[in-house]
């Protein structure tokens, strides 16, 4: 750069490249926000599906507690019941598609048999 010769075409192009990178990052943030809110929705949904199943098991009565499987929307639920003294331990797994992979969340609850 000799003296004050204004800017060169190369400089303009470099500046534009920098702006473009910034724009791409901005566009990418929207995609990740959409992905994260979707992920949050699915995970909260898994918790709600698990809670609904545990309430249903509880309502059926302690003596009727037994393992089993069920599905609710795209949530697949499987649960086992083990006896520990006067308590029953319910081990509940919820599987659901989460992005490219399936995710598996586990929940544990205890019911007392009077």
């Amino acid at each position: 750069m000799s003296g004050s010769r204004g800017f060169l075409l190369v400089e303009v192009v470099v500046a534009l490249l920098v702006v473009t990178v910034g724009l791409l990052a901005l566009a990418g943030s929207a995609a990740s926000i959409a992905r994260l809110t979707g992920q949050g929705r699915r995970r909260a949904g898994a918790g709600i599906a698990a809670a609904a199943r545990l309430e249903t098991l509880r309502a059926a009565g302690c003596q009727a507690l037994a393992g089993g499987r069920d599905s609710s929307g795209f949530y697949r639920l499987t649960w086992t019941v083990t006896t520990q003294g006067t308590g029953r331990v319910i081990d509940l797994a919820v599987e659901y598609p989460d992005g490219r992979l399936d995710r598996r969340d586990r929940f544990e609850a205890i019911a007392w048999c009077p």
């Binding site: 003296g3 534009l16 926000i33 609904a52 309430e55």
Partner: protein, 293 residues
Amino acid sequence: MVPVTVARRPTAGATLVELVVALVLGGVVAGAVGVVLHDHQRFYRSESQILDVEEGLRAVVQLLPAELRELDARAGDLVALGRDSVSIRAMRGLAVICAAPDRASGSVVIADSLTYGWRGIDPTRDRALVFRDGDPGTAADDRWLDFTVTSVGAATRCGDGGPGTGLRLAGPTADLDSVAAGSPVRTYERVVYRLYADDQGQSWLGERGYGGGSWSALSPVAGPLRRAGGLAFAFFDSAGAATSDPRAVVRVGITARGLSAAAIDVPGRAASGRPFEDSVAVAVALRNNPGAP
């Protein structure tokens, strides 16, 4: 002193060609920025619609189970069952009688130190269930007496001298004969939850209460929900079969379907151009049914 003439070098700015190229490229970038910002605005507006629906649905599945869980269906806490509504005696407080009741006036005193609730007792809305032990040697004659709370009196003293509050009750006051100090009192109000359609074309979980001799207007508490089938209740008995008998209910299923107020508009996304819809289904086991685990 010899004057020196300095020849000024011509300072060349941008040439016209460079300026034109720069302006064109700048214009292209400004256009791209505009498109990205516009898309973003659309995206965030849509995303907030989606979050509103999710938030409303989660509020419904928090609120209704919290109200229903502590009910005792066999004692009549579920008053009426509907496909999109439920009428309940919603528990609002717990207290303990701390002096022998006065049957003639229907006056009882509750201990301030043992009074719990998420608000004070409101005679315009609340009724009181007083536990009557009857013969202390048997549980067969135990029952809850249902009273209207006529007034909540000024501070007074319990039988043991501790601070208490006087309640004036109307109802089966003659049965207060074997209600002694130590008997529990539960206060409740009559509440209906049902789907509420506003005049803007949106639907919500609506609540109304009974007080002062009449039902209040239905007011929205959570949503937005779908107008058709936005809120559905299902009631099940101990065998897991659907029931319409309020006293046989051991489990309540609640399905809420949310619908956004405006269409979402995210290019390339499924269901773009239509309102966002989602649903949740929860179940509640009534905890205070006799024999409930």
